[in-house]
Amino acid sequence: MIAEARQLRVAVFAGSQFAVNLIAELMQRKQLALVVFPGKNSQKDDFSVLAQALEAAQVPFVVLRSGQQEVIAEHLKRLHITVGIVATFPQKIPASLIQAFRLGLYNLHAALLPAYPGPAPIYWQIRDGQSESGIVLHRVTEQMDSGNIVAKRLVAIHPLDTSASLHNQMAHLGTQLVSAALEELMRLKTPLLGEVQTRHFSALSEAAVYARRPEQQDNVIRLSEQNAEDIAAICRAGNGTQVPVIIELKQVWVQLLQATAVDYPTFNTPPGTVLFVGDPEGFIVAACGSALRLEVLSCSDGIFGGLAFAERFGIDAGAQLSVPLFFKQRA
């Protein structure tokens, strides 16, 4: 069966580093026939290293530019490609290309659809504090992230998972999912039909909101508006993305790489008040109704643990991290 699977010729629509694991696996199995890169790289991923590896392995690659789907279709025909896999591709695949795969075009999505459709499901699931997720493989239709699900694997989101760690785990599982699906395709020799998308967990039933790409505004920490749990989730969600999580400390913006909600009373101090600086408790500040330990911060002077940051820059308990009002002309 494995020998027959090798006869499958697969095209991968690769939108980010998420596809690298899959590409490597398919290359090893000698099933990879073509890689399609996006014409508009909204994630600003650098595919040059991947392109070099493909060249070395003599695997052709092309860029899907607007209005040039016929070029891709020609490649598919010339290379006898029958199956396509889409992995975080930022462009809508034209209907004519969807039809061009005899055994179907399938998309890997890092969420249990219909929950979290869109380009950044991992970010939003972590940010929303979800504890359960999954990786699905579904038929590509003209409406994005809507086709029948042909395979899925449940994934537990660890309380300390970051976007990067969950991304890597999902990429690894996604590769396994695709491998199993390809074997099924070889066996059936017909496209996988799959099942209509249904909601999995009641907790996710509210999560059909589009998982758009995070913007910088999403990753700004506002101690006066956000509680400690939410801030910790934002840090984990932003960790490993190209949108840094930032917090303003004494009029200077620094990157907050890690923070944890802690069980320490705020004593009704205003958000932004430094509650504790000491070992082993750490650098604890008041957020909205709760306390937050700032654990890893990065600025132009380097990357610091929370306590080291407080000590180095002279931030003590009792200080206010928000913009100081002392003698600022306000009239």
């Binding site: 009704n268 101090t269 509650l275 070992d279 308990a317 009792g318 306000r330 009239a331």
Partner: protein, 435 residues
């Protein structure tokens, strides 16, 4: 006197003959004796250091007890004592994590021991408190038989308001350990570790009943408390837990006992922020403020009135109430924003603390770090701020401001606009609506 000693060639000398090295006697090659000699020399060094610190304390307190404050005498004497205490502190092997921890608790900000060691350099504060304590003890000595029990909570790593004074008493013979028994309390373990070192260095162990590492609000005493010494505040009577501590210890204090400071007054004033916060310091030229400058700046202020007067009687009567968010607070004084001329523009509201330690000993504004005016830039008088912030209070001439003191977290005052005319009109409208 021999200027150099060569252990290989110089003859063995008798202890009593040696001038160059008083520790040496008999054979240099007797290891047991040599060890003993080294011990004596080290002990001598320790004794020498203690003696030096006691002398520095004696010297400093002698200048502090002078009726007239003379900064040129007091400051250098305190600086010498501070340097010795600081050296002792840094050599005391107190773990860094105990020296640097600083946090907010239910009663207020707990300063790190590292940040507290410089209190002793605040010359005016030391003068007022040491003289106040000294005078208070004389009064108590007449009232009570037997040892006087003094409690000093939140005393910090040096207990600066009391330990040098004890050393002075011991050396001058003014009081003995039979006369005074001191309980020192601090919640910081780093502070209490330091205190034991200072007590030993000043050789005042016999005066000390106990050094307790605990939250002073938990302290209970089965002995009569004759005097309580507290100083746990920052400017504007803010941030630290003085109010709650004083209230707690007022309940423990004997009916005829004394609290030092006897009275704390906080009043609200208005002034041009540029003048108060910038110009006057530029004119000082870094030399410290002269009495002339102080008088001039006081003359430019508009006094709104006293918002808090705190003494033992008040402390025994006050019962903080919980606000809607469970923070503890107490209503304080009310002031009216005066009519201002166009030239007076938009002044800044400031809170000024005055401390009467005891008798005629006072700390007025700018005398000490704890009596520097505290500006409140969020009370916007006769203007709407360009950058509105949560917590801003817009008030106009004629408005009444009621001050409240919040005890929890970072203690301090906050103002509420309280216009009786508006309040009654609002009630009337609501009643009309209900009808």
């Amino acid at each position: 006197m021999r200027s150099e000693f060569n252990p290989l060639s110089d003859p063995i000398c008798d202890f009593s003959d040696s001038e160059a090295w008083p520790g040496f006697a008999e054979s240099l090659y007797d290891r047991g004796r040599f060890t003993e000699i080294l011990r004596q020399s080290v002990t001598s060094a320790v004794l020498y250091e203690r003696h030096r610190m006691s002398l520095a304390a004696l010297d400093a307190v002698e200048t502090l007890l002078q009726p007239e404050f003379n900064r040129d005498q007091v400051a250098p004497a305190l600086e010498i004592l501070y340097q010795q205490l600081a050296d002792l502190y840094h050599q005391a092997d107190i773990p860094k994590r105990l020296r640097t921890r600083q946090f907010i608790c239910a009663s207020g900000l707990i300063m790190s021991p590292d940040h507290c060691i410089t209190t002793i350099r605040d010359a005016r504060r030391m003068h007022a408190f040491v003289r106040g304590i000294d005078q208070g003890l004389r009064i108590l000595r007449e009232k009570f038989e037997g040892p006087l029990h003094i409690v000093y909570p939140a005393c910090g790593p040096f207990a600066p308001l009391l330990l040098p004074l004890l050393s002075f008493y011991q050396q001058s013979g003014s009081y003995s350990a039979n006369d005074l028994k001191i309980t020192l309390i601090d919640v910081q373990e780093g502070a209490t570790q330091s205190l034991w070192q200072v007590i030993k260095a000043l050789e005042v162990q016999e005066f000390i009943a106990d050094v307790m590492c605990m939250d002073a609000l938990e302290y209970r005493s089965d002995q009569v408390v004759h005097m309580v010494v507290i100083e746990a505040m920052q400017h504007g009577f803010s941030r630290e837990g003085h109010f709650l501590l004083a209230r707690h210890f007022a309940q423990l204090l004997d009916g005829q006992g004394l609290m030092i400071p006897e009275e704390i007054s906080v009043r609200a004033v208005l002034n041009d922020p540029q003048e108060e916060l910038v110009t006057q310091w530029q004119e000082c030229n870094g030399q410290g403020e002269s009495d002339q400058l102080k008088q001039r700046i006081r003359g430019k202020r508009k006094e709104l009135g006293e918002i808090l007067k705190m003494d033992v009687a008040f402390l025994r009567s006050v019962a903080p109430a919980a606000g809607r968010d469970q923070s503890l607070m107490v209503a304080c004084g009310q002031v009216t924003v005066p009519v201002l001329t166009p030239s007076e523009g938009s002044p800044i509201l400031m809170l000024i603390t005055t401390v009467n330690t005891y008798g005629g000993e006072w700390l007025h504004d700018y005398d000490s770090g704890i009596t520097h005016p505290l500006p409140d830039a969020q009370v916007c008088i006769n203007f709407i701020p360009k950058d509105a912030q949560p917590g801003d209070l817009w008030v106009n001439s004629g408005d009444c401001l009621r001050f409240y003191y919040n005890f929890t977290g970072l203690p301090g005052f906050f103002a509420v606009r309280e216009n009786l005319a508006d309040s009654s009109a609002k009630v009337s409208r609501e009643l009309a609506h209900d009808c």
